[in-house]
Symmetry: C2
Subunit: 312 residues, 2 copies
């Protein structure tokens, strides 16, 4: 039987990864580009498109079934990226259409967190589940919401923005221009902000004081070594997230919530705090109906796999 | 052509309404029972079931296609009512099964707010819509969430509890045993609590002071007559609701939000406050994507129509 191959493109703030993915999720070819090289989307389509066309010469044309793109602020309905501040592109970019024109290959596009949810459903821990959430804890908090094995897109294609629900009146400033969004607390950026606040407000010893710039990974390492601030910051972050996940459970009633992204690498420390706060805040009828798991695709590029799976 | 008739049963805290509903939504027969008469669900099934069997003698047996029940804490998957404090019944009641046994008629059951959403989709303002919310502002705040013309049930059958998201830390006590749920502010009960707080904390004149017990309708009447407190209470209620609807829009991205229930009768005063707060709090990409409407079925029993429509 001939292999069917889908090309996944994961567009992140730092890297653009391109993978040739077989139906079983094996990535048989993989390219990486620096996002910062592409000040305009046209440059990206030209260079990545050329690379795809070149590599595709190894395959017969009917082996390649399509291109799938996962990107911040991606709109599945329109194949567009709309107002994505992290990419530095303005306005509405018809990226799927541009790839079709460049490569002649059928191209679909979705939001990066939705791609991660799609990957979890097809290749990850949700293969047997109908209803689940995937929460990506990276620079921001993204979410893919799956209802009856369909991604929730809503009328605009932008549904499922858990990260931009307001959890604190006049809270931390968010990149969206508002204040107190969940992602300003529960994200890699959020936990760094939390620890910097602690270090500023107190004089207690911490190994983190010696660092010029603290990254979320530094906090996990310090926590494992017993640093009080680091452990407190993880507990604070997990508590906020768990408390609001309790509300989202009352809305979506998922079977499970999968965590992925940089901050989720601390899942062994983070999940106990999340589950405690969830349990304390959840409506009675939902008690013990939901499990929180680290994504089983954490060490792979779930965005790329999920984007490729748009053609599955 | 023969008429197909579905029997809708709307179980409320005060009344149980039973209607024989034609496919076009016409109610051709209508019975009302006092809920308080039925201390046990068995008594309800016996009496309402007998009434149904008696009235059904007017129809040929293949005219009646089924019974649909809308009830608080109803679970569509299991046909059960689970832990419904307003009805005074304990535990899990297999009500659909009990009606099937009593009447021999195929019976489905759903949550009362979901029934209202179903009615809006089949007979109301959402006939042409794929994605919308129905919010029932009565004793509590119920909600039916429609995604791609399907009611959101989630893995447990209880999804869509907007009224039990916590909007105020250590806020008002809720019947669910927690504090600060949206329904303690945005409901007929909530607005009465708000106005009583105002009257207690200040000495200013208000026509409402002469009433022994204030009901939400009294507040609307006083507001129309220019009462300051009444207008302030409506504005406060609309502002809280609108602010949190902005978050739900980021989650569900509906085309429209329909309001129904006792408090929604004040929609001409309430909706401007809701829309203002929604607009001030909404994430940019959702601006101007959603309209708030009063349900067009407000003067009918949407719960009954929607319950009957479970067999459409």
């Amino acid at each position: 039987m001939q292999n069917k191959i889908s090309i996944g493109i994961d567009i992140g703030g730092t890297n653009i990864e391109v993978g040739w993915v077989k139906a079983d999720g094996t990535v048989i070819k993989h390219l990486i580009f620096k996002t910062s090289r592409f000040e305009q989307p046209e440059l990206l389509v030209e260079e990545v498109g050329n690379a795809i066309l070149k590599e595709n010469q190894e395959f017969s044309s009917d082996e390649i079934i399509g291109i799938g793109i996962g990107a911040p602020n991606g709109n599945y309905y329109n194949g567009t990226i709309e107002f994505a501040p992290n990419l530095g592109w303005e306005g509405i970019i018809p990226l799927a259409e541009m790839f079709i024109e460049k490569t002649g290959i059928n191209t679909k596009l979705t939001n990066d967190a939705n791609a991660a949810a799609y990957a979890e459903m097809i290749y990850g821990g949700a293969q047997e589940m109908n209803d689940f959430l995937v929460v990506t804890l990276g620079t921001g908090l993204g979410s893919g919401i799956v209802i009856n094995r369909n991604i929730l897109y809503g009328s605009t294609g932008f549904a499922g923005e858990l990260g931009h629900t307001i959890v604190e009146n006049n809270g931390r400033e968010c990149g969206c221009g508002r204040k107190g969004c969940l992602e300003t607390y529960a994200s890699a950026t959020g936990i760094v902000k939390t620890i910097n606040n602690y270090l500023e407000l107190s004089k207690k010893d911490s190994s983190l004081r010696s660092l010029e710039v603290i990254e979320s990974e530094d906090i996990f390492e310090a926590a494992v070594e017993g640093d009080d601030y680091a452990n407190k910051a993880i507990e604070y972050t997990g508590t906020i997230l768990g408390k609001h996940l309790a509300d989202y459970i009352a809305l979506f009633s998922p079977e499970a919530i999968f965590l992925t992204g940089g901050l989720a690498k601390a899942h062994s420390l983070l999940i106990p705090s999340i589950e405690k706060a969830m349990d304390e805040n959840i409506l009675k009828i939902f008690k013990n109906t939901v499990k929180v798991y680290p994504s089983v695709l954490m060490e792979q590029n779930a965005g790329l796999l999920g984007a490729a799976a748009l053609h599955s």
